[in-house]
């Protein structure tokens, strides 16, 4: 059974339709990459799945439960989904350790020592153990983004949503974040990631979905979508990307 199942999603902002009859299915342990031009609705889709935006139509099922039902408690749903943003969004007034343990302690009511031990272990695993007590503004962009991923992981989510997690980074810092996502995939984490890194999408994704004007107009294995796209819009988009030297 699919872990995430979106059907007929629609979202508009003041009459401007951003998602339109969008379908997306993600099986457990699979990685789906969302690609598409700026403004095609990738971030909006991820925000809708995390219930940060209210849908205008359609249903979203997580683990077979209809989470788009207004009677569902969104806080409870979000605890099962980890989200990482393009701009990291770490809490600047909290140390790295406090950023990571905030949700485990306040949401999952875990004891402080236990939450901190888990956080330190996760940090050690990504080579950031020495930064546990630093504040976010003392970290490089790549380090901040890795902390943001660790923070999302500390909730032991069923599904990770990653929104262009490398776009704000200098090229030499992109690698360390991508390596971390690669490891997550190896651990079997289910992920939906919006990305402009076509090479990475090809390497890490099981499926690539091309979004255009709020719909998935082409999807399939990366080799097929990125090498032999059938839709003219996809061809155009990839052509521009190749011209820009990003594939």
């Amino acid at each position: 059974m699919a872990l995430l199942h979106c059907r007929g999603l629609r979202k508009e902002f003041a009459g401007h339709v951003v998602l339109d009859q969008l379908d997306l299915t993600v099986a457990e342990h699979r990685v789906v990459a969302l690609i598409g031009a700026s403004g095609s609705g990738k971030s909006t889709l991820l925000r809708c799945v995390n219930l940060l935006e209210e849908l205008d139509d359609g249903t979203i099922e997580l683990d077979g439960e209809d989470i788009s039902d207004p009677r569902v408690d969104p806080d409870r749903v979000r605890r099962r989904i980890g989200m990482v943003f393009q701009a990291y969004n770490l809490f600047p007034h909290l140390s790295v350790l406090e950023n990571i343990t905030l949700a485990p302690r306040r949401v999952h009511r875990r004891a402080r020592v236990e939450a901190e031990a888990q956080a330190r272990e996760l940090l050690d695993r990504v080579g950031l153990g020495a930064k546990a007590d630093a504040y976010p503004d003392r970290l490089s962009g790549g380090q901040q983004q890795r902390v943001a991923i660790v923070r999302a992981l500390a909730n032991s989510p069923r599904l990770m949503l990653l929104d262009e997690v490398t776009s704000a980074l200098d090229p030499e810092l992109v690698g360390e974040v991508l390596a971390m996502i690669r490891d997550l995939k190896a651990d079997g984490m289910t992920m939906v990631l919006a990305t402009h890194e076509m090479g990475f999408a090809r390497e890490v994704a099981d499926e690539v979905c091309f979004l255009d004007a709020g719909r998935v107009i082409e999807s399939g294995p990366p080799e097929q979508v990125l090498r032999e796209p059938t839709q003219p819009r996809t061809q155009q988009f990839l052509h521009r990307i190749i011209q820009a030297g990003r594939l």
């Binding site: 925000r47 995390n50 940060l52 969104p74 806080d75 409870r76 979000r78 605890r79 989904i81 980890g82 989200m83 943003f85 701009a87 969004n89 770490l90 809490f91 600047p92 007034h93 905030l102 949700a103 306040r106 949401v107 503004d137 923070r151 999302a152 909730n155």
Partner: protein, 281 residues
């Protein structure tokens, strides 16, 4: 293996020596220009034709000594009122600001009340609130009426709570929505998001203007003497009426400034620190 001590280059040694000389030179210039200006001021003031009369009626040491105990005990009232009112107004302002951010139809009346409160008390002159509470309320002759001093304190808290609520609200609104999104995406409830993510950042950011309002409050607490209790200024006024000499006012003024110095220093320090944090240092 031991690390080799860094031996400064010849150029660096020369630069350091030059900087040290510059420092000594700057201190000397500052000291002599201050001395020159001070001398000029003293000559100008003491040489003024009315200086002797002014000195007698404003700077009489004997009268200052006599008035000091009364003014000091009045000042003690100011200090106690300031501490209680500042604490009360900060709590009230924070509560009102948070109430105004609540969304959802259930909270409509709360939101409306909080908004009405800030509009009313920011518009109403403090003196009128003071008179209404200290003269009007006792007129109701209710059982267990608190003393006038407490009523005056409540008037101060109500008025300053309105100002501080707006400062807190500006701070809450200055926290970027992406911080809220990040907190909510972690599963934190609205309350937890406010408590652990939004308010700590908001309060840090508006600490300087908040403290500024507390400094202003320090000067306004004395207004309770309009309703009877004797604060430092009122004590000075009484002493002046007895001696026909204004020295007690000067005594009170000096004491007020002394009292304000630590508060203002703290405000400056907090402002400086906030500015440093802002610049990402």
């Amino acid at each position: 293996m031991t690390l080799l001590e860094h031996v400064p280059s010849e150029a660096q040694v020369r630069r350091s020596a030059y900087r040290r000389r510059q420092t000594v030179y700057s201190v000397l210039v500052a000291a002599s220009s201050t001395a020159a200006l001070g001398t000029l001021l003293v000559i100008a003031v003491t040489g003024a034709p009315g200086w002797d009369r002014v000195r007698q009626s404003f700077l009489d040491p004997a009268i200052a000594r006599d008035a000091l105990p009364a003014v000091l005990s009045g000042l003690w009232l100011n200090v106690r009122l300031l501490v209680c009112c500042a604490a009360g107004a900060l709590v009230l302002g924070l509560v009102i600001a948070v109430l105004r951010t609540l969304r959802g139809p259930i909270f409509f009346p709360v939101r409306a009340l909080a908004t009405g409160y800030t509009y009313t008390f920011r518009g109403l002159p403090l003196i009128i609130v003071l008179y209404l509470l200290t003269l009007g309320v006792p007129g109701l002759r209710l059982q267990g009426m608190p003393p006038v001093l407490v009523l005056g304190g409540i008037a101060l808290i109500l008025t300053y709570g309105g100002y501080l609520a707006e400062v807190f609200r500006a701070g809450i609104e200055s926290v970027h929505p992406s911080q809220l999104a990040a907190a909510r995406s972690l599963g934190l409830t609205y309350r937890q998001t406010m408590r652990h993510v939004v308010l700590p950042q908001a309060v840090r950011r508006v600490a300087p203007p908040l403290l500024n309002d507390v400094v202003a409050l320090q000067k306004d607490v004395g207004l309770v003497s309009l309703a009877g209790p004797i604060d430092a200024v009122r004590a000075a006024q009484i002493a002046t009426a007895q001696t026909f000499n204004y020295t007690p006012y000067v005594v009170a003024g000096v004491l007020f400034v002394l009292l304000a110095i630590p508060l203002i220093a703290v405000t400056d320090w907090v402002t400086l620190r906030a500015a440093r944090r802002q610049s990402g240092g």
